[in-house]
Symmetry: C2
Subunit: 500 residues, 2 copies
């Protein structure tokens, strides 16, 4: 019976954590400007409550009993394994350390914001040093003192190691850099850029309507979720209450649309998790890389395809008659699939985006081995940026200071984005094996087959298997970058007339 | 030092309760239709957390120490007094009773909804019996077994007794019934009704703009609050995060406006409470009647005045040129101050509204004495409705079944609405003594003097004094209905040409 007693404890901790998450959603979407301090106090009180629930001593006793029980079912083992992982993370860090890390994270964030504004890396360096030290200490508390970066990666993607990522990224880099060079040199690149710049003056209420139609058509259930506006798009919530956000600009109509389709991919995953298991491993996603694979698959493989636009383009022209009059179908398609190297990760297209991630991974890895001292970061960034992306930042603001992640100690998160791209491509070719003419479905506005397949093979699995194992089971192969490379070559090689 | 230790415990309980309140706001404003069950689980988990914080044994120890300490300051005494009241309510009810009451409240609500839909009081009567029994038991647990209705009133308005309300309402009824009779008989009444019916076709985005200008101008700080849309208007939140709601209909432009001004009155009170004391008696409102006085004063004394409309009418016509073209200024003013008896409390004007409350109070009082058996309620309602309002409901749906309050055991709440009207009028005549020409302020769009006066004399006081004591201190007199009667006679007697 310990399992029967464990489940409601897990469920309670989960329910309380969803309340904390709602506070975060509300902060981004609704919070009056003057209420930041009050919200911080609410967050802090809620974090304490969630932590108390997640570290309940009874939970530890039950886990120990279950771990000593022979012949648990595979499902029960998965629940116990993930509950143990969460329980250890909730209980093995001394409260003083947790407080210090939270305070340092907040200080680091503000130091980063100041440093970015003033393009002053030196003032930020001591905070980054401190965050690295805290990350190493955290890893040591959890028993990973000899492999702190593995621990950081595993935090976001259970089971993923630096060695595995290194192998995958090295292979990807080898194939991707020449592809990007060839695309940039293609005369089509300028036409794609110009096509994007001609998309201007799209009324926001019609953008909202179109976006709602698209995301609803591909399967987001608005009875169990919603979409609002925030400064940066995100997806939060779970189960029957998934909250996505986007942002609108009249002269960037593809931005709101594609960011919403991206968030819809996340939302579909959450809506597809088994509701009866919410709060335990059978009802939670399989890690951030797998989550990202779902958003990328819908955003890229699906919504940048010709089939997708065969269905949606007429409606798009109907809703935006004036601004689309001078835009040919081929120019629309080029604008959607424009590739242009940029210094800034969040502005990158789906091809070059991966290079931004490889850059960050290589730097993080060397920060953790100690090979790269913090003070040498800006120079290392410039070198890597030139080598990988072909552009060298003139300022640290456009270089090492551009991302918020490290400022509060979130190391090891970046790789998930690129792993997600790899998983999406690998799932996609499995889909094509099973249903070669799936773009014909899309051209009819029918996304049901794909969603059902993802529901059954990915979403319904929860965290029964960790991401790499799940990929193996669903696709019959180990995770490999070759599918992503193949996809990018097929889509962009043809479009840009290049075949490196 | 026990006081210094008590304050953060109170603050923590308060902070957690504000999170529970945000869940409620979000449920009314944002919740996807399919997420009701998930939200119920969140409410339930949060209620347990809030209860644990409010009943922390250490809080009880500190309160006992403080109660045994001589020479506490008046402020400290007030904090201890109200903390004791809350602590007893959190700890003296056995958990089984709390669960039973919550479950019964939910069952009662659904029984009421069914009974109302089917106009079937008999099916609801057993639930009402049970709610009365639970209310008596609750009063007994808190040491008020011999005066359960006093206990119910005191729950919402500390210090208020049935005898006091009885005296106030009897006097009010004596003066109000003839005034209503005279207004209804006036030929102006039909013109006012017709004027209201001509207000049609007010575009909702312009309504939103006007409402935002009005509520901002009278002083609501949108840096520390917001207004959204929900089925029924309400105001929640506190401190720097006050959340109001309204609802819009093109053919009811006064509804959104006046309900928003009403909620703004509540919001101004919350925004005026001393932020440094949030969570203890010095930072909480002085009870529901005082809260209602603030909403009513802005809604009625201020926003139904000629001065107010001298300022806002030009802008109103500017924003709504088409639908206001045929509406004279006098017709607008009559529509705003239309009086027409109705069977339904929530549809009532500010004059007859009080009679709806008196009716409910008289019935609640007799339910608690046992004088009126539940089965005789529909008949008693019909008699009282005819006597007080001059209308007899043909169905129980328009009679005893119209309000939700009793279905989950919220007895003793109704009187706050009418006590709030009395307090508003009494405060208003004090304002007029100090600043006789205040309507000239309004006519210039200047509401600062009034808001500052309320801030200083009411809002900043928190619950240092209970409502009746606060009224006495601010106005120099005991609470009396004569100010409300005077106000209604002055405003409506003149307008309708009647002087009963």
């Amino acid at each position: 019976m310990p399992f029967a007693e464990l489940l409601p404890l897990l469920k309670r901790a989960h329910t309380l954590s969803t309340i904390g998450e709602l506070l975060g959603w509300d902060e981004q979407v609704n919070l009056p400007p003057g209420a930041a301090e009050q919200r911080a106090a609410q967050h802090s009180a809620m974090a304490e409550v969630v932590h108390a629930a997640a570290s309940a001593p009874r939970m530890g006793e039950l886990l120990s009993q279950l771990e000593a029980t022979p012949e648990l079912s595979a499902e029960t083992q998965a629940v116990v394994r993930e509950a143990r992982r969460d329980y250890d993370r909730a209980t093995k860090l001394p409260p003083d350390f947790v407080r210090e890390k939270a305070a340092q994270g907040s200080r680091g964030f503000h130091a980063w914001a100041r440093a970015k504004a003033g393009d002053d890396f030196a003032s930020y360096a001591p905070f980054l040093e401190k965050n690295l030290e805290l990350a190493r200490r955290e890893a040591a508390y959890l028993g990973h003192g000899d492999s702190p970066y593995d621990y950081m990666l595993d935090k976001h993607d259970p089971g993923v190691t630096a060695a595995a990522v290194d192998r995958l990224f090295t292979e990807l880099k080898r194939d991707l850099v020449p592809l990007v060079r060839a695309i940039v040199a293609s005369p089509i690149a300028a036409r794609a850029r110009a096509a994007g710049e001609r998309l201007r003056g799209f009324p926001i209420n019609a953008q909202q309507m179109f976006l709602r139609e698209v995301t609803g058509r591909i399967g987001f259930d608005y009875q169990r979720g919603r979409i609002d506006v925030s400064l940066h798009p995100f997806c939060s919530g779970t189960g029957s209450d998934v909250r996505m956000t986007t942002r609108y600009q009249e002269d960037q109509p593809l931005d709101a649309l594609f960011s919403s389709i991206h968030e819809t991919g996340h939302g579909l995953y959450e809506q597809g998790l088994p509701a009866e298991h919410l709060g335990n491993a059978l009802g939670i996603h399989a890690g951030m890389a797998m989550h990202e694979s779902q958003s990328r698959l819908w955003e890229n493989q699906v919504a940048r395809s010709r089939g997708f636009w065969r269905f949606f383009e007429p409606r798009w022209r109907e809703l935006f008659p004036a601004p689309t009059r001078e835009v040919s179908s081929e120019d629309l398609y080029l604008a959607i699939n424009a590739v242009e190297p940029t210094l800034i990760r969040v502005d990158a297209d789906e091809v070059t985006y991966n290079l931004h991630i490889i850059l960050r991974f290589e730097i993080e890895k060397r920060l953790f081995t100690g090979e790269l001292p913090v003070r040498d970061l800006p120079a290392a960034w410039r070198v890597a940026s030139r080598e990988l992306i072909g552009l060298e930042p003139a300022t640290d603001r456009e270089g090492v200071l551009q991302d918020v992640h490290w400022s509060d100690g979130a190391f090891g998160y970046f790789p998930s984005y690129c792993l997600g791209n790899m998983i999406a491509a690998q799932l996609w070719y499995r889909v094509l094996e099973l249903r070669p003419a799936i773009e014909e479905d899309f051209a009819r506005g029918d996304f049901r087959w794909l969603l059902d397949w993802l529901r059954e093979n990915v979403h319904a699995q929860g965290r029964r298997f960790r991401a790499l194992e799940l990929v193996r089971r669903v696709t019959g192969q180990e995770l490999s970058p070759k599918h992503l490379t193949r996809y990018l070559r097929e889509r962009y090689g043809g479009l840009y007339g290049v075949h490196p």
